[in-house]
Symmetry: C2
Subunit: 422 residues, 2 copies
């Protein structure tokens, strides 16, 4: 089936909002093998909106609209789309009850009630976050139309929990997606390594790039969820096998999530000493709710004096080797571990740029160390002309530090290709 | 003039890339008073692309395309757009020289040379970042067509430095934009306060929301840049006057940029002690290149023991008042300042959530303190049911801490409405 996405909103035409909804919907449809051939955006103008709906229905089997379901003046949008698609709006009692429950005694008005007006005979798509329900219906001409709300926090759950399963049910199918998260292998190389596995129609597998990471989404359709899950399993397993230990999780997004969870399971604590990442590593760890159980101390020792005073890095070492060096990274990791009383200590020192690089120590050069009190492992990111700017160097360094901890906790050598842990 | 934006790229249709280009172009056009009525996206399919170009030229005075100028197979895009617009491509010698200079002796091939093929008689839009130039030309039917590259890092400078000025020149005008950055006043309230000032056609003024911040962009057209700048000036001044001291900069984006610059100008240093922000404040300060001159130490004291050991916060205080309290924030700021030998110390302690809240100390409650060794100021963010999640609480807390420092350095009371500094 071919589909198109029509986004409605003057704020999009003015560039005040980036249209992330279109990408969300496109991804979800691609996962179930639906081709999106067009995306378009119009403002809250009934004439142009109606024309856009008619054009879409003349050339696509499925039209997904985003935006215009809210309680404000532009609820005209829903009426316009319904009219252009030949549908009649009627009060949906179930949606009205949900709205009543949402307000739970607080005052609400006619405009909210209008949100419960939906095309007759449609499949209602519940809104778990807000009040405006979405819907999926079939036109007299046999085209499918789905309406989703504009706010991404409302659209995302409605899309993945209700629209995609409803589309799947129309094909008498359940849909299951799994995500294989990878750090330490570029998207290009990863895609090559599984090229033969990404051609299937069911399950599908597609690679996605993320900052410093990539992931593969595997999606299967089957009569039941269990069967869909069973269809995914061998493909997920084969992809994990081909990638090896650069896979940091299946279905858990973010190295920091995996690290905090693994530390918690093992009852271990971690302390960080950062120079070039300047707090980013601690920030990412504490992004995870409950990180306080495993993370007590993070030190940002930007100045050499702070490295000596807070971490005990010897002044002579800083003079002889320079702050950005393997021995200093090592001393930072060991110092923060010992002084904080944590099980593990991480040290990061490098040149984030744009200034401060030299031919011997170019921008992007970062040393990372992990100490468990018995041993210390050091890793080097070489930097140089291909390094991609301050933000990117810092992010890559923080991810690499997290990956060292992840590998350590998984019983792997903290440096890929390094000696296994004793 | 009415305009539309046409983005080309299969990666957009698959949802692998979010279309930030369309929003960038829409904003830039809105700033100079051009109405964007449609945005659309098609893949690298010549038939559908040609149809989309023809439709756009049938209804809009200006068509801006994004994507498809690169050296790979899909340079078909440029040929297709040119053909649909009735233009003939010819080798542009200037662009060819730029590409030669870009490669500076390194090997390059025919496919790169194709990038110098541009519509005859067009205005060339130089690419300061990559090799593919853009262009602006007029069709036989009197429509304007601009082609921009897809990568945002290439599109942005070409758009603001070359396309917008070229469009302005066609109207015999120069364009100048100024940005007034505000922290501590919501976009809604800000927009209301200057509602009468946002209706003008030249200069235009438009409000934009950013996370925890907002800004106003003032744009003027005039015969020369000096005249355009002079047109902006009184409006910028009046907007700043109405907003008052919540304006943290004109044309400098980011509280951290302003704070680092002000510290450097004053020759002062800053140290941070963070609990709930977990390193985010230090991370934002060290996002600014050259922050090392003014920032030596940041401590993330997540655990109470770390607060006592590293900052000297008395255990009794932690027991009697709790870690999230005004006295502890104060002791953190004073402790980190004294122990690091910095001129200023900041302490942040709060409940970022989702867990850990109580009726007395709800999620989102944050205490922030700033100490200069003589005095300490404390600010409280109350939190409660309307607070918007962990990430948002942490970001707002870091911004508030930066704003306290910004206000201090500007000679304002660090807490708005507070007593002026002695």
């Amino acid at each position: 089936m071919n589909a198109e996405i029509l986004s409605v909103g003057t704020e999009l035409l003015l560039g005040r909002t980036v249209n992330t909804d279109a990408a969300e919907v496109a991804q979800a449809l691609a996962d179930i093998g639906v081709n999106v051939l067009y995306q378009s955006t119009v403002g809250d103008n009934p004439g142009r909106l109606e024309e856009a709906v008619r054009q879409a229905l003349s050339r696509s089997g499925l039209l997904v609209t985003t935006g215009g379901l809210g309680p404000t003046g532009d609820d005209l949008t829903k009426e316009t789309i319904a009219r252009a698609a030949g549908a009649t709006l009627a009060l949906d009692e179930g949606s009205l009850r949900r709205i009543e429950e949402y307000f739970a005694g607080r005052p609400w008005g006619e405009s909210q009630k209008k949100q419960a007006m939906l095309p007759e005979g449609c499949t209602v798509l519940p809104n778990d976050i807000g009040t405006a329900p979405g819907c999926l219906f079939e036109t007299a001409g046999g085209r499918l139309v789905a309406m989703l709300p504009g706010p991404p926090s409302e659209l995302r759950p409605m899309l993945r929990r209700y629209l995609i399963p409803a589309l799947a049910r129309r094909g008498q199918a359940a849909i299951v997606s799994r995500e294989i998260h990878v750090f330490g292998l570029g998207e290009g190389a990863a895609a090559e390594r599984i090229a033969d596995l990404t051609e299937g129609a069911n399950p599908t597998a597609a690679t996605y790039a993320k900052e410093n990471e990539m992931f593969v989404r595997v999606t299967a359709r089957a009569a039941t969820e269990d069967e869909a899950r069973a269809l995914c399993a061998p493909l997920v397993e084969e992809i994990c096998r081909r990638f090896g230990d650069v896979v940091y999780s299946v279905d858990v997004d973010g190295l920091e999530q995996v690290v905090v969870q693994a530390l918690r399971e093992r009852g271990l604590t971690l302390a960080t000493a950062e120079s070039c990442t300047g707090g980013l590593l601690a920030k990412r760890i504490t992004d995870v709710p409950g990180a306080s159980e495993v993370f007590e101390t993070g030190l940002v020792t930007y100045a050499n004096a702070a490295k000596t005073r807070l971490l005990g890095v010897p002044e002579e070492l800083l003079c002889s080797c320079g702050a950005v060096s393997e021995p200093v990274a090592r001393a930072m990791a060991e110092g923060v571990r010992a002084r904080s009383g944590s099980a593990l200590g991480v040290g990061v020192t490098g040149i984030a740029g744009p200034g401060g690089g030299t031919p011997e120590k170019p921008v992007g050069l970062v040393y990372l160390a992990l100490s468990d009190g018995e041993r210390t492992w050091v890793r080097c990111m070489p930097g140089g002309p291909r390094s991609r700017g301050r933000g990117s160097v810092r992010n890559a360094a923080a991810s690499t530090a997290l990956d060292m901890v992840r590998r350590y906790l998984a019983g792997l050598p903290p440096t890929p290709g390094g000696q296994p842990r004793p």
